[in-house]
C-alpha cells in the first residue's frame, strides 16, 4: 500500500486504539470520504452532465436519464419514477415497491436498453440486470418535506429553510446494490478506469445523480401544479437538500468481510492524521481554515437531529466537546507554536469524548489537503491477491502474529453466555444479514463466519497442542475448521487495521457502530439511529449540483455554510 507511514515522523495510532467499536462508531466524514473524493475527481477531470431524457407525467410517473461524460467514459443514471400507494411506502429492505427506482448504466442506453431496464429495475431484487449496468437502487420520498416543498414552489414561494435543514432531503435511498449483485457488472469490468479507482465510486456517483433527479422532479411537479405562478428553488437553499439513506444490518458485515479494504481505509486516515500531527508550523491561512471548520462543525451539531437516546447523548457530548475546544483555543494564546496539531490531539485524548476526538481528527485534516488528499488513491485493496494462505508458515510464527494482533481476544471469556449471546445469519426471507439471539432463536448452526474474536480464541487454543516448527499446511489438513480464521490472521499480519478488535457477538454489541464507521467513510452526515441496528443518514447535503460543480469552490461543502441561507 502506498500510504507510506514512513513519510511522517509522527506515528500512526495503534490498531488497539483505533479498531475498537466505540471509536469506529464515533467517526466523522473527512477529506478522504468517498463523496468528497469523487466530486474532487469529477471536477478535476471536467466531467460534463446533462439530462438527455425526461418523460415524467403530472402524477410524477415516467422515466429520466442523467448522463455524466468524462474524458474517457460515460455513465447514465436511468431513473424510473412511480406513483406509489402511500400504504406501501417503507424504508425497510423487505419493501417491494418504491417511489423511484434506478440503475447506473455503463455508457448511454439505447431504446432497447431502456425497455429492458423498465421491465426489471422497478422490480429491484426480483428483477435481473446485465453486465451493462453497474448498480441497482431505489428511493422513497420524505413525505413531509416533499409535500411542503411541492406546495410552496407551486405557489411561487421558497420552501422554509428550517424545515429543509431539519429533514435534509426529499428522498431516501434504501439500498444501492453494485459489484455484480442481481447480474450487474463485476468490479473487474471497470476497476482499471481512473474515475473508478476508489471504493464505492459507482454507488457514490449513482447517489449523486439521484440527488439531482429528486430536485428536478419536485420542481417539475410544482410547475405542473402551479403553472405560471410556480417557481424553482433558489440555488443556495437548493444545495441544502442532500439525499437521504436508510441502512440496516445488511451493511454491517461488510467491514468484517473485507478486512484488507478496511485496513486500506483506516490506514489512509491514520496516515493523514500522523502526517498532520508531524507538521511543525501552520500558516495563518491554515489556522483560519481550521477555526472556520470548527465553527461549521458547531453549526452542524446544532442542526443534527435524532430521537435515539444513545445518539442524543453522543451529540450532547460532542456539542460540549466543540465548546471545550473553542474555550481551550481562547485560553491558549501561545498555541499554535511548534507541532500544533500533535499538541492539540494529545490534549484532546484526555479532554474529549470519542465523538469529540474523532471530530477533531477530521477537522485537523481540513486545512491540509496538500498532505492528505493524495492518500485517497490508496483506499482500494486487491482482495484476490490477499486470499491465498501461506501454508509454509510455521506454527511458531503464527503464534507470534496471534500474540501481536489478537491479544484482545484473550480479554473475553467465550464460555460466558453474554460473550456468545448473538449470532449473525442470513435471513431466508430477504437473503439479508441479520443478528440473532443464540440462546433464544433457532439457526445458530448456520452462523456466518463473523465471530472473529471467538474464532481467534479457538485457534489459539487449538494451536497450543502443535509443535512450533509444524507447517500451517499440516495444521489445516487436520483442522480445516480453522481455515477461515487462519486466513484472516495471516492477512492481519500484513494489514494491522484489518480487524475490528471487539467481540462482534457480545450481548452489548451495537451494530450501529459498524454502520457509522462505514457511512463516515462514505462521507455521510446527520447519523440518526432508529434502533441499535438501523440508521438514517444524509448524503451530499451542501454539495454543488452536477451543473454547478465546475463553478463553485472546490470541496468546501461538507460542513454547513456559516452564512445564513436566504
Amino acid at each position: 500500500m502506498g500510504a507510506t507511514p514512513q513519510q511522517t515522523t509522527a506515528r500512526c495510532r495503534s490498531p488497539d486504539t483505533v479498531m475498537r467499536l466505540a471509536r469506529l462508531g464515533s467517526f466523522h466524514q473527512c477529506r478522504l470520504s468517498f463523496m468528497r473524493t469523487l466530486l474532487r475527481r469529477l471536477r478535476e477531470e471536467h466531467w460534463q452532465f446533462d439530462r438527455p431524457l425526461w418523460e415524467i407525467d403530472d402524477r410524477g410517473v415516467g422515466r429520466a436519464v442523467y448522463r455524466a461524460k468524462g474524458p474517457r467514459h460515460c455513465y447514465s443514471l436511468v431513473a424510473f419514477s412511480h406513483d406509489l400507494d402511500p400504504a406501501l411506502r417503507s424504508d425497510r429492505v423487505i419493501a417491494t415497491a418504491w417511489d423511484a427506482t434506478f440503475a447506473l448504466f455503463d455508457g448511454e442506453p439505447d431504446d432497447a436498453d431502456l425497455e429492458r431496464l423498465a421491465a426489471n429495475v422497478p422490480k429491484q431484487e426480483a428483477g435481473r440486470i446485465s453486465d451493462r449496468e453497474l448498480s441497482l437502487s431505489r428511493a422513497n420520498r420524505s413525505v413531509r418535506l416533499w409535500e411542503h416543498v411541492l406546495e410552496r414552489l407551486a405557489e411561487g414561494r421558497q420552501p422554509d429553510a428550517q424545515q429543509v435543514t431539519a429533514v435534509g432531503y426529499l428522498m431516501r435511498t434504501t439500498a444501492v446494490y453494485g459489484c455484480g449483485k442481481f447480474g450487474a457488472a463485476d468490479r473487474e469490468k471497470y476497476i482499471d478506469r481512473i474515475l473508478m479507482r476508489g471504493p464505492f465510486r459507482i454507488e457514490m456517483l449513482s447517489v449523486y445523480l439521484t440527488r439531482a433527479f429528486t430536485l428536478d422532479l419536485v420542481e417539475h411537479l410544482a410547475r405542473l401544479r402551479g403553472g405560471e405562478r410556480a417557481t424553482v428553488i433558489e440555488p443556495r437553499l437548493r444545495r441544502r437538500f442532500g439525499v437521504g439513506n436508510s441502512t440496516g444490518l445488511g451493511m454491517a458485515p461488510f467491514l468484517i468481510n473485507h478486512p484488507a479494504l478496511l485496513d486500506a481505509w483506516i490506514q489512509a486516515r491514520e496516515t493523514a492524521l500522523a502526517r498532520v500531527r508531524a507538521i511543525d508550523k501552520v500558516s495563518p491561512e491554515q489556522l483560519q481554515a481550521f477555526r472556520k471548520s470548527l465553527q461549521q462543525a458547531r453549526l452542524n451539531v446544532r442542526q443534527w437531529r435524532t430521537e435515539h437516546p444513545i445518539q442524543i447523548e453522543k451529540i450532547d457530548a460532542l456539542r460540549a466537546d466543540l465548546a471545550t475546544i473553542d474555550a481551550w483555543l481562547e485560553a491558549h494564546p501561545a498555541w499554535p507554536g511548534i507541532r500544533p496539531w500533535d499538541y492539540l490531539y494529545q490534549w484532546a485524548e484526555g479532554a474529549l469524548s470519542l465523538e469529540g476526538q474523532e471530530q477533531l481528527v477530521s477537522l485537523m485534516l481540513e486545512p491540509h489537503g496538500d498532505q492528505v488528499d493524495a492518500l485517497a488513491d490508496h483506499m482500494d485493496a486487491d482482495e484476490a491477491a490477499e486470499f491465498a494462505i501461506d501454508g509454509t508458515m510455521r506454527i511458531g510464527e503464527l503464534n507470534a502474529i496471534l500474540q501481536n494482533h489478537y491479544a484482545w481476544v484473550t480479554q473475553t471469556d467465550y464460555s460466558a453466555p453474554q460473550s456468545m449471546a448473538r449470532f449473525w445469519y442470513v435471513s431466508e426471507e430477504k437473503l439479508e444479514p441479520r443478528l440473532g439471539e443464540r440462546y433464544r432463536e433457532p439457526g445458530a448452526e448456520y452462523e456466518q463466519p463473523l465471530a472473529v474474536g471467538r474464532d481467534a480464541a479457538a485457534v489459539i487454543d487449538a494451536l497450543a497442542q502443535w509443535a512450533a516448527d509444524t507447517r500451517v499446511a499440516d495444521f489445516l489438513l487436520a483442522c480445516p475448521q480453522h481455515r477461515h480464521i487462519l486466513r484472516r490472521v495471516q492477512m492481519t499480519a500484513r494489514h494491522p487495521y484489518a480487524e475490528i478488535r471487539d467481540n462482534l457477538i457480545d450481548q452489548q454489541l451495537l451494530p450501529i457502530d459498524l454502520l457509522r464507521c462505514k457511512l463516515s467513510f462514505f462521507g455521510a452526515t446527520r447519523f440518526d439511529p432508529r434502533s441499535d441496528r438501523w440508521i438514517r443518514i444524509c448524503m451530499y447535503q451542501g454539495a454543488p449540483f452536477p451543473h454547478e460543480l465546475q463553478d463553485l469552490a472546490e470541496d468546501d461543502w461538507s460542513l454547513p455554510a456559516l452564512e445564513p441561507a436566504p
Partner: protein
C-alpha cells in the same frame, strides 16, 4: 426469467448469465450448506469463480461434487498423503480439499517434481488450485485426465482436448508434474458466465441450507421495524 442474456448451452439446457460475484457467493454458501467448513467453502467459491471467468463449467462441476459429498464426514474425506500419492481417507478424493492441500504445499511441487492423486472426483475443480500453486511456486505444471491435456504456468492455463472432459465426474488417477509448460492461456473475462439452470438450482438448494427462516420476533428485531419509517 426475462433476462435477454438467457442462452442455450452446448447441452441445450437454458442458462442464465450470472456475475462472477454471484457465482462466488452462491458457490461459497452452497459448499458450506453441504457441510464443508467456511474456510474451504471460500476456496470452493473462488475456484468456481476462477473457472467461470475462463468460460469453464466450475459451478456445474461443484454442483455435481456437492451432490456426491452431501453429508460425508471430514474424517472420511480428509486427504491423506501416502507413498502412492494423495487419496481420501476413504472413498473418493474431494478436489476442493485436495486442491487446498496442494496449494498450501505449493513449494513441495518444485521439490517433489511429481505428485499423484487417486480416485479423484470432478478433476476440473482441482485446476484453480494448481494455477494458484503454479503462481506461488513460480513453476509450470502439466496434468490431465482421459484425453484432456492441461498445461499451467504462472501466466495461465491451457486445455488441449475435448472440452466435455471438463465435466468428468471421476478419474482413478491424476498425475501432476512440473514441466516447462507454455500454455496458450484461456483469457479471463469479467462479464460473468452462463450457468445451466439445473446446476444453479442445485447450488441454490445447498445455499438455502445456510439461511435462517424469519420469525415474527426476528422480523421485529431484524432491522428495527415497528418504528414509523415513512415520514
Amino acid at each position: 426469467m426475462t433476462d435477454p442474456s438467457m442462452q442455450g448451452t452446448p447441452s441445450g439446457t437454458l442458462a442464465e448469465r450470472y456475475s462472477l460475484a454471484e457465482i462466488d457467493a452462491t458457490c461459497r454458501k452452497a459448499t458450506r450448506g453441504a457441510g464443508y467448513p467456511w474456510g474451504l467453502a471460500e476456496e470452493a467459491g473462488k475456484a468456481a469463480r476462477w473457472l467461470a471467468a475462463r468460460g469453464l463449467p466450475g459451478p456445474e462441476a461443484l454442483a455435481g461434487l456437492l451432490t456426491e459429498n452431501d453429508g460425508r464426514a471430514y474424517a472420511d474425506m480428509q486427504p491423506v498423503h501416502t507413498a502412492s500419492g494423495w487419496q481420501a481417507a476413504s472413498g473418493r478424493l474431494c478436489p476442493i480439499m485436495a486442491g487446498a492441500a496442494l496449494e498450501d504445499r505449493a513449494l513441495d511441487l518444485v521439490t517433489d517434481a511429481r505428485v499423484y492423486a487417486s480416485n479423484l472426483s470432478w478433476p476440473l475443480l482441482l485446476l484453480p488450485f494448481l494455477a494458484q500453486a503454479a503462481r506461488l511456486a513460480n513453476v509450470g505444471l502439466a496434468t490431465g485426465w482421459q484425453d484432456l491435456e492441461v498445461l499451467i504456468n504462472p501466466a495461465g492455463i491451457g486445455l488441449n482436448g475435448p472440452r466435455e472432459r471438463c465435466l468428468t465426474a471421476h478419474t482413478s488417477r491424476i498425475d501432476i508434474q512440473t514441466a516447462d509448460a507454455t500454455p496458450c492461456p484461456i483469457p479471463s473475462s469479467a462479464l460473468g458466465c452462463p450457468v445451466p439452470a439445473p446446476a444453479w438450482q442445485i447450488l441454490d438448494r445447498f445455499s438455502a441450507r445456510t439461511y435462517v427462516p424469519a420469525s415474527a420476533a426476528s422480523r421485529l428485531a431484524g432491522a428495527g421495524a415497528g418504528i414509523h419509517d415513512s415520514d
